[in-house]
């Protein structure tokens, strides 16, 4: 028997004062918190809270490829394992990884590859584990953002960071950074990611209905949001290096 209480959608996604249901302006991001080096056993790791999203990412590698036949003689491979906790969504997710998780893993992997120098690591693999413990809107963008940090934390050489955000349309208006309810009840959703080294889009998905003009406006909104999120990523990395420096100067590390 399935759940009987449904997650009801509100009739309107804007309040009377023109703000969104969570009080944000149209182009305002939800609160974002990032931290690197949070897990002791991985080669690199990061933690992110973005609205209600709570996500851990960890990187192992370069290491041996299992199963062996996946190894490439001329380059390293990037393997992304995106998973949702059973309790991260309204209706309990089944524990086994589903098709959606496989698809998103591939999408994230394709998005991160352009910044890596995989040709320098023939025969090996970088494995990125991303676990969503609480999910809100924009989960895949949050995952890309935190995975890029985990790769940086692992010391993997990168052309640049990658930053992702979803923009979209609700009640006929274009907005930045859709929350869960805006994603489900809204009309269009455009998750995208930027690779800073060439300032091109490395993730681009769209679902909805839009004409060309509106579509260009969406891309403009995304561009603005990228910069703000990028700052938070850089801060998280800096914070760790400052901590390490302080430990050195206090003589705790050598």
């Amino acid at each position: 028997m399935p759940l009987i209480i449904k997650d009801e959608y509100p009739e309107k996604l804007f309040r009377d004062d023109g703000k969104r249901l969570d009080g944000r302006d149209k182009d305002e991001l939800r609160p974002i918190k990032m931290e690197v080096g949070v897990l002791e056993n991985a080669d690199g790791s990061a933690y992110l809270e973005w609205g209600n999203n709570k996500i851990y990412a960890a990187v192992y590698g370069p290491r041996e490829v299992h199963p062996h036949h996946l190894a490439k003689p001329d380059r390293g491979i990037l393997r992304v394992f995106y998973r949702m906790a059973t309790f991260s969504v309204f209706e309990r997710k089944r524990p086994a990884p589903g098709r959606r998780e496989k698809e998103i893993s591939m999408v994230i992997s394709d998005c991160l590859k352009p910044v890596l120098f995989l040709e320098l690591y023939p025969g090996t693999a970088f494995e990125v584990y991303i676990n969503v413990l609480d999910a809100d809107g924009g989960t895949r963008c949050a995952c890309i953002t935190v995975a890029a940090l985990a790769l940086a934390d692992a010391g993997v050489p990168m052309r640049s960071l990658v930053t992702a955000v979803a923009v979209g349309k609700i009640d006929g208006e274009l907005i930045t950074d859709l929350s869960g309810i805006e994603d489900k009840a809204g009309e269009a959703d455009l998750p995208c990611a930027i690779t800073w080294f060439n300032e091109e889009l490395s993730l681009l998905q769209f679902d909805g209905e839009t004409d060309l003009e509106e579509f260009s406006k969406c891309l403009g909104l995304a561009k603005n949001a990228f910069s703000k999120i990028y700052e938070i990523q850089l801060d998280a990395l800096k914070k760790k290096y400052i901590e390490i420096q302080e430990e050195y100067s206090r003589g705790e590390k050598k």
Partner: protein, 272 residues
């Protein structure tokens, strides 16, 4: 499983690339030219709808089946339409046996999303009795020959199979489904004709409808689904990146190409 055919030589790659730089393709097409289409409907007697579609030498067969089930509690009067794709090993030595892999999941998902978001399948019409009985429509895509660009061929085949389908009409009587003997035709199911267009990118060169060798050497692809004047779905794949200008250019082109394909193929002719 290392397969010798999976490796394309550097010479071949360079040859394809140097042609593309001259805006030429190894099969003689221009950058924005699709291969030829062939569409046949009603090819599977056991299916409620079906289509055999070729795009160049790429060949897919899609069949529609139905079942009756209870609706999801939060959508008590909507039917369900699900897409599956299978990359048969006979279509290419690149395809392995086994459960759905990333590539087949992606094919099904991109076709699904292009159709779903164009409001193409009228799931609200697929309700027999609110809260009690709705149709479940299965659209299953089988790849018979793989010669590049499965997504565009899959999209047209799924649309055609849906348009050509006949689903028995059911009524709710005495707490069970009773069949009236009539049929819902494709125009009950299908509302819009979204066309999906896939582009390859190598270096900074972009081209429509990648053939197999082009697909094997390209850095990435982007698939754009369009209705008459709207974009309804986009999926980038592979490790290519695209500038915003490129995306805008491809969106515009897709609406133009979509119109042409919609007119050329005239899919409504396949309604029974």
């Amino acid at each position: 499983m290392m397969n010798i055919k999976r490796v394309i030589s550097t010479i071949e790659k360079n040859y394809i690339l140097s042609n593309l730089k001259k805006e030429e393709r190894i099969d003689g097409r221009g950058l924005w030219q699709q291969r030829d289409w062939s569409v046949k409907s009603n090819v599977i007697a056991s299916a409620e709808g079906s289509a055999e579609v070729s795009l160049g030498k790429t060949q897919v067969i899609t069949g529609v089946k139905y079942d009756v089930g209870t609706p999801f509690p939060d959508l008590p009067n909507e039917g369900v339409c699900t897409f599956m794709a299978e990359l048969l090993p006979l279509a290419s030595p690149l395809f392995e046996r086994g459960p759905p892999n990333e590539q087949s999941i992606e094919l099904a998902r991109v076709v699904d999303r292009g159709i779903r978001h164009a409001d193409c399948v009228q799931t609200k019409k697929l309700c027999i009795k609110e809260k009690k009985a709705v149709y479940i429509i299965f659209v299953d895509i089988y790849v018979i020959n793989y010669s590049g660009n499965l997504i565009d061929a899959g999209g047209i085949s799924a649309l055609t199979a849906l348009i050509s389908s006949q689903i028995p009409e059911g009524k709710w009587e005495n707490e069970e489904v009773v069949w009236t003997g009539k049929y819902w035709k494709g125009d009950t199911l299908v509302n819009e004709l979204p066309i999906v267009l896939t582009y390859g990118k190598i270096g900074d060169i972009i081209f429509l409808d990648p053939s197999l060798p082009e697909e094997l050497v390209c850095d990435g692809r982007i698939s754009i689904s369009v209705t008459e004047d709207k974009i309804t779905s986009i999926q980038k794949s592979g490790f290519a990146t695209f500038s915003i200008e490129e995306i805008e250019m491809l969106s515009k082109k897709s609406i133009k190409f979509g119109k042409k394909i919609r007119k050329d193929l005239n899919l409504w002719q396949y309604k029974l």
